[in-house]
Amino acid sequence: MGMAAESQFHVLAVDDSIIDRKLIERLLKTSSYQVTTVDSGSKALKFLGLHEDGATNPNTSSVSPNNHQEVEVNLVITDYCMPGMTGYDLLKKIKESSSLKNIPVVIMSSENVPSRISRCLEEGAEEFFLKPVRLSDLNKLGPHMLKTKFKDHNQKREKQEEKAAFQSPKRQEQEEQHQHQQQLLQQQSNNNKRKDIEEGLSPERTRPRYSGITAAV
């Protein structure tokens, strides 16, 4: 199951509207992503293996009762306006969790409120989409998920290297420098990759889109 899942990105979509859940599911599947939809922030956290109080719960999914990490989620896309836990609250909880903070989060909203958008981006959201979301918007998701895959891969290698040899302080320092260089290279290649992907797109945009920039209020 683990190996097969790696060939497809898995997106967790959160929206209290049944119509919007159906829509986003179709959009994501059309983009060849695996999709799970839930109707609330608290259900999203449960699926991700996190209790609302921040503690991790190993018994979360029906797929794997032992290790919540096996239900790998590569991106969370959530509506902003939801009763109870808002999309912003969910974003915060994910970014505050040591186990989940690396998962990219995208916010969707039907309302174009600049202060809302900046808040979300500042809290760590990768993108902010205005609803109704279109297929062309989803083209922006790939780079975020790819970036995380590389990061996870690096971290796994790091762990293996640590286990392999006893490290003297000097050796540890060299190891760290090596890792740092690797990350810089990864970031550079990811930036180039993102640039290539973006240049390949030319969607006609009639409405503003916000990504990675702080909107002027």
Binding site: S17, I19, D20, R26, T30, S110, L135
Partner: protein, 149 residues
């Protein structure tokens, strides 16, 4: 009627819905998401819209019948209706919702009641339009034709 005539009738009818403002670009997006693997996608989404809207209209009616109206609650329902109508491209319903929300903010009871009537009316109109359009599609399929994109 033969297939070609049925197809023309369908295309003209659909075009009129855009022309009269019942549908907007978002509905086109929905149609583009439908394919051989998901042939009923549009009908399914629109059916969900019908169910959800009827629920919301009932809630709105009840909320506005109260002695002391909870405008926040009314607004929350209108917000949902605005969202779902926007998601399927039901433009005229969406527009009334925008006006409706303004009245909620002003706590204007008369305005809200007026909008409730209007939104019920627009919803009923667009529902009939969708149902007619789906019937025309069905006629084409029954006659052995394919639905023009």
């Amino acid at each position: 009627m033969d297939v070609l005539q049925l197809q023309k009738q369908f295309v003209d009818y659909r075009a009129s819905l855009y022309h009269e403002g019942f549908l907007d670009e978002q509905f086109t997006q929905l149609q583009e998401l439908q394919d051989e693997n998901n042939p009923d996608f549009v009908v399914e989404v629109v059916s969900l819209f019908f169910e959800d809207s009827e629920r919301l209209l009932n809630e709105l009616t009840k909320a506005l019948e109260q002695q002391s109206i909870d405008f926040k609650r009314v607004d929350a329902h209108v917000h949902q209706l605005k969202g779902s109508s926007s998601s399927i491209g039901a433009q005229r319903v969406q527009k009334v919702c925008i006006a409706f929300r303004n009245y909620c903010e002003e706590q204007n009871i008369e305005g809200c009641l007026k909008c409730l009537q209007q939104v019920k009316h627009e919803y009923s109109l667009v529902k009939t339009k969708f149902e007619t359009m789906f019937q025309l599609e069905q006629q084409i399929l029954t006659a052995g034709g394919s639905i023009p994109v």
